[in-house]
Amino acid sequence: MSDNLLEVKNLHTHFFTENGVIPSVNGVSFSVKKGEIIGIVGESGCGKSVTSLSILQLINKPGKIVDGEIRFHDQDLTTFSEKEIRKIRGNKISMIFQEPLTSLNPVFTIGHQISEAIRLHQDVDKKEAKQRSISLLRKVGMANPERQYHAFPHLLSGGMRQRVMIAMALSCNPELLIADEPTTALDVTIQKQILKLMKNLSNELNTSIILITHDLGVIAEMVDRVVVMYGGEIVEENDVFNLFKNPKHPYTKGLLNSTPKIHQLKEKLQSIDGNVPTPDQLPTGCNFQDRCPFAMEKCREQSPNLVTSENGSSVRCWLHQEKEVVNV
């Protein structure tokens, strides 16, 4: 198992609110190899962010990891004390968030915020930290980094802010970078710059990346392996090429079909009917049953398991399990 940098096993994260327990993440398992870029797709509210926050133990008050393991270098992060996990955060595992404006503290200069990250984990003095911050800023393609070092976040454009976030995340050469929808708030042209930057950095430093998004296009361009989530569970996992070529889960299929494509001629878009369920209203049985064109009696009664086939892909659907059963 040593080639897996990170292994998430059977993760359950629930929110204990006044209106009851919300099972946002419900038994998610996946792993990341060194240098690998994996993507997590799924629509709003399916538990992508909660999964990523769970990895760094950043889940806040009403939320709690109720079950599962998060093994990083074969150590279970869920058993770490606050102090121990702080040594991992920002150092071995870094994170980039979706909203670049609100993710930077508005009252400190960006330089200060990057230096802080450096000084937290490395024994360097202020001057040295500043030097390193400036070189990081240069690395992520900021023009005139010496001057921008003293800039406050609000003076920067969205793209520049996201670069700052990346610089901050890279400040300690992490082994794993979790990027939670890093480009959703940005324009396509800027998105392209940021994605390219991340890809290059990953190649250069052999950093593993977990890229969370709901844009299949971004997934297609960036990642090696894809995890598709729906309603707090993984419904499909596969190599990126296979997934796009041969999606198995009806949700994945529907998603691919309902994405308008720029290079295709006009044909009627298919859509997935119905609404995205929220985690507090999940039905018994398969989560996707209400919207699934192939839903069967069984789907309404029992949840399918995530079944892994020989080639390493897995899918959570009765259709395929039956097929598998038939095949055997």
Binding site: K61, R89, G90, S103, N105, P106, V107, F152, M168
Partner: protein, 305 residues
Amino acid sequence: MKKYLVKRLLQIIPVLFIISFVVFVLVYMAGDPVALMLPEDASESDREAMRAALGLNDPFYIQYFRFVGDLLQGNFGTSFRYNEAALPLVLERLPATLELAAASMVVATFMAIPLGIYSARKQNSLVDLFITGGSVLGKAMPNFWLGILLILLFAVNTQIFPVSGRGTIIHMILPAITLGTGVAAEMTRLIRSNMLEILNQDYIRTARSKGVSSNILVYKHAFRNSLIPVVTIMGLQISHLVSGALITESVFSWPGIGLLLVQAVNGRDMAVVQAAVFVIALLVIIINLITDLIYRLLDPRINYS
């Protein structure tokens, strides 16, 4: 920045003008100061003679124009009561009030910040409930009542502090607590709710994801941000402080502007009322301006145009 300042300063002029007019009308309507200056026995002719001598028999508009004319020369007129120029009288008292207000602001801040932060961090705990309840209580107690109680407890029964008067630092403690408690209560509640909100912000999550410890998180990342609304509130509280000072000063015989003003109003001492209201209003405006500037200093997002 400069432009902003100039603009704000220019806005003060119409504001002061409106204030002076309103106050003049009110004091004019308030009645005859002469009645209050002579003893109950004085005869009508005695009072008439005095009114004439003080120019109080002139029609309203003449009195008002005289007032505005004098005002433009920086002259608020003469206090009937003290037979002295009103403005110096007020200014002479200003330091005492400022001192008291500043001290109570300090008391309030020093009480509110740790309490507010602590109860936010321990949200919904017993301590939090206790602090919240205490701050509500602090708000519910009228100033004079608290003041008298403090005197009884800490100056008369256990003679830790002097009873009244203005002098050394120790003299300031009880009045400052009296005046500061209400403000502290308000601020504690505010800081608590601010902190709660800020602790949920994305940038706090970012800082945590960097591996920042929870103390630094609270006292550096969150506190600096939560200070921003606190500063604005401090600016608004100044007017509460002045209101409270009217009463606290009476209780503690603190020779400040509040005491002067209450007596001037009761004595229909028009010039002093005018001067005091003017000075207080100006003070409130200026302090608000300063807090605004601090606010802008604390929050780099705001620009000055």
